[in-house]
């Protein structure tokens, strides 16, 4: 016993360490989020939080539920694989509430030109025109149906 005779201060010190460690564990339990470490060294719940962001583009599958007539026109034309919202813009709000959110038809002079204005930088096979020369200022939809842009046999309608 004589070994521990003068060691009281060491035990008190060790006791303090143990207490501090327990305190650390308690604080850690409160401070570290429940899902930290669920999948790795990060907060697992963050994945769900990022995934909860609201959707703005409804997706063409949703549009096609109602607008089957447009789909019929589109699917045989050159724009078959151009999704609705590529031209009409983000319309999840319209899909959510079709009665009160009514989309505005895009201005073809701006919309069509965005893709089809001729530029040597664009891929060669892509149909391109110089808008001023091509239509003489007429809106594109005078001759083309934007949903199926090829002109009917025999020229402009």
């Amino acid at each position: 016993m004589s070994v521990f005779k003068d060691a009281g201060h060491l035990f008190r010190f060790a006791g303090l360490f143990v207490l501090a460690f327990l305190l650390f564990l308690v604080i850690r339990g409160f401070v570290v989020p429940k899902t930290f470490g669920q999948y790795g060294h990060y907060r697992g719940a963050a994945i769900g939080e990022v995934g909860a962001h609201p959707i703005k583009f409804a997706g063409h599958q949703t549009c096609e539920i109602c607008h089957t007539d447009v789909l019929d026109v589109k699917k045989s034309g050159k724009h078959a694989h151009v999704n609705c919202e590529a031209c009409h813009g983000a319309l999840a709000s319209h899909a959510d509430d079709p009665a009160s959110v009514t989309p505005v038809k895009p201005d073809t002079a701006v919309l069509c030109a965005r893709c089809h204005t001729a530029s040597a930088a664009k891929p060669k096979g892509f149909p391109q025109v110089v808008p001023a020369d091509h239509s003489n200022g007429l809106p594109c939809q005078t001759c083309h149906n934007p949903h199926s842009p090829a002109m009917a046999a025999g020229g402009a309608k």
Binding site: F36, V50, A58, D69, A99, S119, A120, A121
Partner: protein, 243 residues
């Protein structure tokens, strides 16, 4: 289109039900989505890109990206006379409103859409001191805005320049590969808005995904392969001058 009142009454609830199922909650709540069954990436088909900027605008709309910052952007390369070392690259406002018209066809032009490469061995996640950025089990590099300190180590670490500090939130921000969409069966906003199919979301764990056939039959490259980042944005027909 002209629908009768009867048709409208039938269609509206059907559309509402379909849309509600799309909106059904977070991935954990969504019983159909299992993270272990997916490994997301993207395919960029360079010869199809026309530089319209639809993807950039769609991304900014979908994800409330502040003006002047980009989660995706488009660069136009101009390589003259085989000068692979110093191509002229422009990206006016990220290519958001398209590119200036080129009259003369001198040299070679092409567009390169860029976004987070969702690297499997991502340098940006390795430098984060607080575990605020990570690769999810389904292969998406993500930022936890509640944990991020805004130290910007990751912004510097990304070899592709895909991160920025959000000017209002003061935390790192980046492409989430539209995680809120892909977990609900939709494609990303940029892919949805791309008119030519130059961008395609791919799921490398889905054996039916056309990407597997595409990778077999095309000359596909990732950006900066020498950095061994495990980048998952695959570029078809990528020119050697692209950095």
């Amino acid at each position: 289109m002209n629908l009768s009142r009867r048709q409208m009454l039938i269609l509206l609830p059907a559309a509402a039900v379909a849309w509600k199922s799309v909106l059904a909650g977070t991935p954990e709540d969504s019983p159909n989505y299992k993270m272990s069954e997916h490994w997301w990436g993207m395919l960029i088909d360079i010869p199809k890109c026309i530089g319209c900027g639809n993807c950039v605008r769609a991304c900014q709309t979908e994800n409330d990206v502040p003006d002047g910052n980009f989660r995706t952007w488009v660069e136009r390369y101009h390589v003259t006379d085989g000068d692979m070392v110093s191509p002229q690259v422009i990206s006016p406002d990220g290519g958001k409103e398209g590119f200036p018209v080129v009259q003369e066809d001198a040299g070679k032009y092409f567009f390169v859409p860029k976004l987070c490469n969702h690297c499997a061995d991502s340098p940006c996640t390795q430098v984060c001191p607080v575990g605020a950025t990570f690769v999810t089990p389904d292969g998406v590099v993500m930022v936890d805005p509640k944990y991020c300190l805004g130290c910007a180590y990751c912004v510097q670490a990304c070899p592709y320049g895909c991160r920025y500090i959000h000017p209002e939130k003061k935390v790192a921000d980046k492409c989430t590969l539209c995680y809120h969409r892909i977990t609900k069966g939709l494609t990303t906003a940029c892919c949805e808005a791309c008119p030519t199919g130059a961008r395609q979301l791919v799921d490398l764990k889905n054996p039916k995904d056309p990407i597997h056939e595409f990778l077999k039959t095309h000359s596909v490259q990732v950006l900066k392969p020498q950095m061994a980042t495990g980048a998952k944005v695959y570029y078809n027909d990528l020119d050697g001058s692209v950095r």
